[in-house]
Symmetry: C2
Subunit: 369 residues, 2 copies
């Protein structure tokens, strides 16, 4: 952490704020930022139908290039009409580049100038991912937003190593930029640079010079202290191009979304709401609920009295606890409906607060919960 500002990073809502409303137009409709994207790894947001997603208020969802390439295969999905048609989601879709998954899921991998050699998590088979292959896959999937193929080094690497990796990410970004995607597809560049603000600044400037349709902060929320995440977003996000969407990848908890929105981030994604739902960890306006706890055995109140989702409109905590303890599939369904709805409603409240020029109070009130 060479930079002055990161000697004493702080987390939380620290002004000045620069929240914004930003609408990304896509071939499958608008995305109103600040917006959260539910993660649909294997062509499904786990346990939810497209109808559930719409009702929860989802606009754009995320698909995973690595997973879809491994199974069922991007060429198959293309022949079947693309990812939208395959999973019957007619709203916007963003696909990641596969880079993060390759770096996080693969035990054996080797980064070369041309790309990354790795073994499939499914059958151990060898694969070689390049920027061009990532673009080819995402073109086949037909997503509305395509992410450039990047390298995501551990945040603990020293500055020289991070800088070297960042330079490679920039060369890969140019190769992605040179690839001819489908006419409706937008391409976002990914800003790396670890916890070094000057490297991030340099990376961004070079990406902007190449010209992308949006810019993402990669390499955060990968294990670093949350104070560092918040500090980086606070220092860096406001410097990102004002006329393009800003996407903070893989973040995060509700409070992290509030903080990052406060500094002008438009788009988020995270597996947390859906994964936690399956583990019985539920987000509510009254704080976290671990639904398996004995205190809910006879609790006839809704999971979150302030929530208007199908789950909260219809079922008691006692029933949700029973379903979880009994290992019922409906537990995953109802819990996921709620957690996703909770995240999307939170973003909606932030947007309304920004529009009504009362973000500071609203964010502070929401953050406390």
């Amino acid at each position: 952490m060479s930079d002055e500002i990161f000697r004493n990073p702080r987390d939380g809502l620290i002004g000045p704020f620069s929240p914004r409303l930003f609408t990304l137009q896509t071939a499958h409709g608008p995305v109103n930022g600040p917006q959260f994207m539910p993660v649909g790894t294997q062509a499904t947001v786990k346990s939810l139908t497209p109808r559930d997603l719409k009702e929860a208020g989802a606009q754009m969802i995320l698909g995973n290039t690595y997973h879809l390439c491994m199974r069922p295969g991007h060429k198959l999905i293309e022949r079947l009409g693309g990812l939208h048609e395959f999973m019957k989601w007619d709203g916007p879709i963003l696909t990641d580049s596969g880079g993060f998954q390759v770096f996080s899921l693969s035990g054996l991998r080797k980064v070369k100038e041309d790309g990354v050699v790795f073994s499939s998590h499914l059958d151990g088979s060898k694969h070689f991912f390049t920027p061009e292959l990532s673009m080819e896959i995402q073109a086949s999937l037909g997503s509305d937003v395509v992410m450039a193929f990047d390298e995501c080094p551990p945040f603990t690497d020293d500055k020289a190593t991070i800088a070297k990796s960042m330079d490679r990410t920039l060369r890969w970004a140019q190769r992605c930029r040179d690839y001819k995607l489908k006419p409706h597809q937008k391409l976002f560049g990914i800003i790396q640079g670890g916890m070094f603000l000057d490297l991030r600044q340099e990376c961004m400037e070079k990406l902007v010079a190449m010209g992308f349709d949006g810019y993402a902060i990669g390499g955060l929320a990968i294990g670093e202290p949350i104070a560092l995440t918040h500090e980086m977003v606070r220092q860096f996000a406001p410097k990102m191009p004002a006329d393009k969407p800003r996407y903070l990848m893989g973040v995060g908890r509700p409070q992290d979304l509030i903080v990052a929105s406060a500094h002008g981030i438009d788009i988020f994604d995270c597996v947390m709401p859906s994964r936690n739902a399956r583990n019985g960890q539920l987000f509510t306006s009254e704080g976290k609920v671990n639904i398996k706890n004995a205190q809910y055995i006879e609790d006839r109140s809704p999971l979150d009295p302030a929530c208007e989702c199908y789950t909260c409109r219809n079922f008691t905590r006692a029933y949700l606890r029973h379903l979880f303890v009994a290992g019922e599939i409906l537990s995953a369904v109802l819990n996921t409906i709620h957690n996703i709805s909770y995240y999307l409603a939170l973003m909606g409240r932030l947007r309304v607060a920004i529009a009504e020029n009362r973000f500071d109070e609203a964010a502070a009130a929401l953050y406390k919960k």
Copy 2:
């Protein structure tokens, strides 16, 4: 098999037919027979929301007394407003007596005159089920139709053993009859007697003398050859009281429902559509589909072109195969929606055919599939 008719049992559609329309009125609405009840063992029809069930066309669902008593407990459900309120199902509910589960699930059990001692499948704890306890549990659950507590001996037992068991079932039936249920609850008697038509006749007459709100055939579909099941239904169902609902317990495959409807059965239940759905075994108007088969990898047709369920209206076989192979929860959801819808639509077609006085042709056409 002492009876003449069972020396050469035959299966299939063998006339003369005596199909009928019969409406059971309950406190939570009518049940139009012939009707199929989806099984909601643990206060949920596995993987479906109440809304999914309504859309699939479900009228009455079945709850399992044994399971609900073990977890979360019938007294808890009663304090929470009863089973309807607990699981938010506002249509009719029938609960079984727990007898069948005690006999089929429990490793250790001992039948006494007073009831059955058994060990819980969850934690091995000892329990003692009596006719009165079964009634107490079902009263707490508040189901619309309560089933008498019966003994269900293996179909291979000799006639003397079956007769002895049947006599105990009759004594238990009287104790159930004497129990004061809730005002809205109806009580069905269960006819036992194994594969012996004379014993079944005797059992039924004695139950009718006690006076029940409906009569069920128990002790079929417990492992006997399907020809025996069909023969028993063909010989016996038309003799059941015409003014009361007739319920064939635990049956069965689509073709079994057609055969039994042909002989005047009104109500069915079976775990087959929901369990098979989770295993990727799907019923369609074109025959069975094992969705994991490679032939569906690129099949862009709906699962069943003749089906109007949410799954068939929206998704391809290729997508359903992908979800199943990837082990996605949505696979269970979409497959169950279809299989339950398929069963319920089949019953609807039979009802329409009966109403239009063309059951024979309709049943024959449906049976062939």
